[in-house]
Amino acid sequence: MRTDARDLLFQNRFWKSFVRKEIPVNQWLRTKILGLGLINFYLFVILTITGILLMFYYTPDTERAYQGIKDLEYVASFGLIFRNMHRYAAYLMLISVFLHMSRVFFTAEYREPREFNWVTGFVLFLCTAVMAITGYILPWDQKGYWAMTITSNVVTSAPVIGEKLKYLILGGNEVGQNALVHAYGMHVKIMPLIIGLVMGVHFWRIRKDDFLAWAVWGGHLDFKEGETPPAPQGPEQGPSLWQDIIVRELSKFLLILALVMGISLLFNAPLEEGANPSVTPSPVKAPWFLVGMQELLSWGAPFFFGVLVPNVMIVLIILIPYMDRGREGIGVWFHPSRRLANILFTAVVTVYLGLIIVGQFLRGPGWVFYWPWQSWPIH
């Protein structure tokens, strides 16, 4: 009876439908891929739910948005907690999406036939960033307002269309009501739609590509001509194993939920003063994940550092799977044959992290460099 119930719960067609054919479950259990993709999905679910709840109290109106957030904080039942959860889950998602991407790079998983999924994955990464930026503006506090202001100024450094693009994004020449409504529309309608669609494609491709190219994976692995595939290591089936996988992945969800709730319980999401165009904070800092870009921009010509460098980076990253056509080291962490590629990738990431740290912690008023032990001139 117990076994029957378990079978009914775990050994059914719902779970089976996630894979095209039988896969060696106990190999799966032994993989070291961290399950970051699913974690991203869980965070997306948490964000969607808390986001919908927050929508009940929020109005995208410059007069009322900030007050709405204050209401959430002070009077709405669970308002403070849901706002905290939404904010921290978003931060976590930015990090874990990035980690997911890094994992795929370091194990060379993007290679044929998974090139396209690298592209969709990267698009999802960009979408997450756009969600974060637009979400940043919605509370209409000083931070959001000025972040939007400098972001829109960066846009103007694009050649020819810069000014028009800024006008389009802001719905006017200044950061105001239209910009807020645009951000809100992007954040709650357009971006979720795009993310949902691309995520569908991403998942569909995963199923079609039979999950991972993990080296020890028994099933669908690419081999060079003439090599013999390793012998299948016996049928790895049975109700208990399926159950183990499902329990493991679902407990990751609980772990993530606990993490988000725990942080939300202890720390309140930051909220600055209401947007005030006449009071410019010094220094004006972009959201932390973009502050590296801002640091880069401070180095010189906005067109070069603000438009050229980031866009070239984006194109290069998208093209990675089409440039790197090697067959060796797929599904292996840090395969020796890919040392150069790994070092390059790590270097780029380290540089950007360094930029973020410099921009976030070592820049004072007027974007002047200050060591942490140096005090800023107070004004």
């Binding site: 007069e63 009077v75 039942s77 669970f78 606990a258 003063e273 004004h379």
Partner: protein, 642 residues
């Protein structure tokens, strides 16, 4: 894992159901039950957030979530946060809310966030001392009676010439200091040097701030100022008893002080010989207006002979005993050697022109200070605390302003603003006034200007010339314009007899014994008195008093029985002698009533007794609500007093 999530969930439930205000509400409820102990039923109390939404002001105030006893008179003496709000004359909380007056974050429901200062809310609640700044938001800045601190602040702001350097939109620039032309003909150069170095050393009550110049800088500035040709040499004689008598009889000390004693309108005279050139003294006494159009000093009408005697007396008697001759000579030499170029630069840079005009070769550069139109609503990040380490909870706008008022160079030494060194009281008042300058208007429904706006009444013609000559407005108020020191003359025509006025103007006697300031005996001509009374009689009357003329039976008032009845009322029932004097008997608070019938018209006495506050709003006379018969008796007695 599931257990952990469950625990966290329970934690969140707990956090959500235990907001910080709940402790206060529980405490309040138990207090309520205590207070209602006599009654059989427990009082109703609903836990949860209380909120007032003031749509027109765009305010949402949740203060009453904790301040629960606001409107409950039983909590008059309760400890905060439950104490009931003191009466504020018809301010309906439902219409106004809390934060429009008190500041703070009305949206918040925890103590720290609501009271502030917190990082994400610029406005903390106002300290008690500065509360009155909010009154001006709806009521304007002339609310003397209800907001005395604000009114004092406004006066101080004006009198100290703040507007000379600081732009406040909608308020006219006022230059308060004297013009500084022809200084050589006015003062001695060593005095000028010492004055610039520290004005308060010579005249502790001066409104001139300390520009904080170094000795060299002071000499440079004095060098620029000290030009304008030679003064006339006047031979000063020995001080005579005659001169002293004229000086004292003319009651100069009503306005001028001698070693700190005396009036506050004019400058101190006890060291005048160390400052003024005799020729200048003569010319000032003769016609102060010629030298400084805004001077408050009247033209007395002394003869040249008398003036000379006074000057002899002043120069001979009022010398600076502490002054070292050789030091003074050294200072004079310093001024002579001063660098005029540097001096000129300093005068322009430090904003001397904010208060003084007609400095030779120096152009007025307008308001050089920070604009103050919305200083009360300024963001704290615009205010520089400089080298002073200030804890975050003290980094507030009022705190900055208050300390700046007490010491303008506190935060930074190389500033332009001179040091006014206001005391606690003045600093509080000026800070209050500045906080009231919010640069915003309340919706029309909330605007309710109170108090009396100073009128721009400027009499013309013959009457105007007399009033101007004797500077009546310095002490007297007429139709809303003028000083507070002496009687308001707006109803003078209805008040006094012509004969009395003629006598009084020539030789004023004491009407109000308690006052230091006395009406000076001007050398006024009969034709000028004629002019004054003609205008008083024609224009400065009140019809409510005039209408009584003809209704009074003079004969009836001479009835001895009635007079006796009035005497009893005066001495016994109402004990008027507590404040008033008749033949040197009685109190000193009210005016002397000896022969009051010669001074006041009977119509006025009758009307005034009926309602003492009808004309003189701030009259301290108690409103006894006398019966008609009593008024008649009292008037009969007063008129009969010889």
């Amino acid at each position: 894992m599931a257990l952990l999530v469950l625990l966290l969930f329970i934690g969140q439930l707990w956090k959500n159901s235990n907001p910080s205000y709940l402790a206060y509400q529980k405490q309040f409820k138990s207090l309520l039950i205590q207070k209602a102990a006599q009654k059989s039923k427990d009082p109703e109390f609903r836990f949860g957030v209380r909120q007032r939404w003031i749509e027109k002001l765009k305010k949402t105030d949740r203060c009453e979530t904790c301040h629960l006893g606001m409107e409950d008179p039983r909590f008059q003496n309760a400890l905060q946060p439950f104490r009931s709000h003191p009466d504020v004359g018809g301010h309906d909380f439902e219409k106004f809310g809390c934060t429009v007056c008190h500041g703070g974050q009305g949206l918040a429901t925890s103590r720290n966030d609501a009271h502030g200062p917190v990082e994400n809310w610029n406005q903390a609640i106002y300290h008690q001392a500065f509360m009155e700044n909010s009154c001006g938001l709806c009521h304007g800045e002339f609310i003397q009676d209800q907001a005395p601190v604000l009114a004092r602040g406004r006066t101080a702001f004006q009198e100290h010439g703040c507007r000379g350097c600081h732009l406040v939109r909608g308020k006219e620039r006022i230059i308060v200091g004297p013009p500084l032309d022809r200084m050589t003909q006015r003062v001695k150069s060593d005095w000028l040097y010492r004055w610039i170095l520290n004005p308060k050393a010579y005249l502790p009550k001066t409104k001139m701030p300390n520009p904080k110049f170094s000795p060299q800088q002071a000499a440079d500035v004095a060098a620029v100022l000290f030009q304008g040709g030679k003064s006339l040499e006047v031979k000063v004689g020995q001080p005579t008893a005659e001169g002293k008598k004229t000086f004292l009889d003319s009651r100069c000390v009503s306005c001028h002080s001698l070693e700190g004693k005396g009036g506050i309108l004019g400058p101190e005279l006890s060291k005048i010989s160390s400052k003024m050139v005799p020729d200048r003294l003569i010319r000032i006494i003769k016609n102060p207006h010629e030298l400084w159009a805004a001077s408050q000093m009247p033209i007395y009408g002394f003869s040249d002979q008398e003036i000379l005697k006074i000057v002899d007396y002043l120069v001979g008697e009022y010398i600076d005993l502490e002054l070292d001759e050789s030091q003074a000579a050294a200072q004079a030499r310093m001024v002579q050697a001063g660098n005029k170029l540097r001096g000129k630069e300093l005068i322009e840079k430090q904003g001397c022109t904010g208060c003084h005009t007609q400095i030779e070769g120096v152009k007025d550069r307008g308001e050089i200070g920070l604009e103050m139109t919305a200083i009360g609503a300024i963001h704290i990040s615009h205010l520089d605390f400089g080298r002073i380490r200030v804890a975050p909870q003290d980094r507030t706008v009022p705190n900055w302003l208050y300390n700046k008022m007490k010491n303008s160079r506190l935060f930074k030494t190389d500033l332009k603003m001179p040091d006014y060194a206001f005391g606690d009281r003045e600093a509080e008042a000026v800070t209050t006034y500045l906080l009231g300058l919010k640069g915003q208007e309340v919706p029309a429904a909330f605007s309710l200007p109170l108090g009396v706006k100073p009128s721009s009444f400027a009499p013309q013609g013959k009457f105007g010339r007399v009033v101007d000559k004797y500077r009546c407005f310095t002490c007297h108020k007429i139709l809303g314009r003028g000083g507070e020191m002496a009687t308001d003359l707006t109803q003078e025509g209805s008040r006094v007899h012509r004969a009395w006025l003629e006598k009084f103007m020539k030789a004023p006697d004491t009407i109000r014994p308690i006052l230091v300031e006395r009406m000076p005996p001007f050398k006024i001509q009969a034709s000028e008195i004629e002019t004054l009374y003609t205008f008083f009689e024609a224009a400065l009357v009140d019809d409510r008093v005039e209408n009584l003329t003809g209704t009074i039976k003079e004969n009836a008032l001479r009835d001895p029985a009635l007079i006796q009845q009035g005497k009893n009322l005066y001495h016994q029932k109402y004990a008027c002698q507590a404040c008033h004097q008749i033949n040197h008997q009685g109190g000193l608070i009210g005016p002397d009533l000896t022969k009051v019938g010669d001074r006041l018209r009977i119509e006025w006495i009758l009307y005034y007794l009926r309602n003492p506050k009808a004309f003189v709003k701030r009259s301290v006379e108690p409103a006894f609500k006398l019966a008609d018969k009593e008024i008649e008796a009292m008037a009969a007695f007063l008129v009969s007093s010889k």
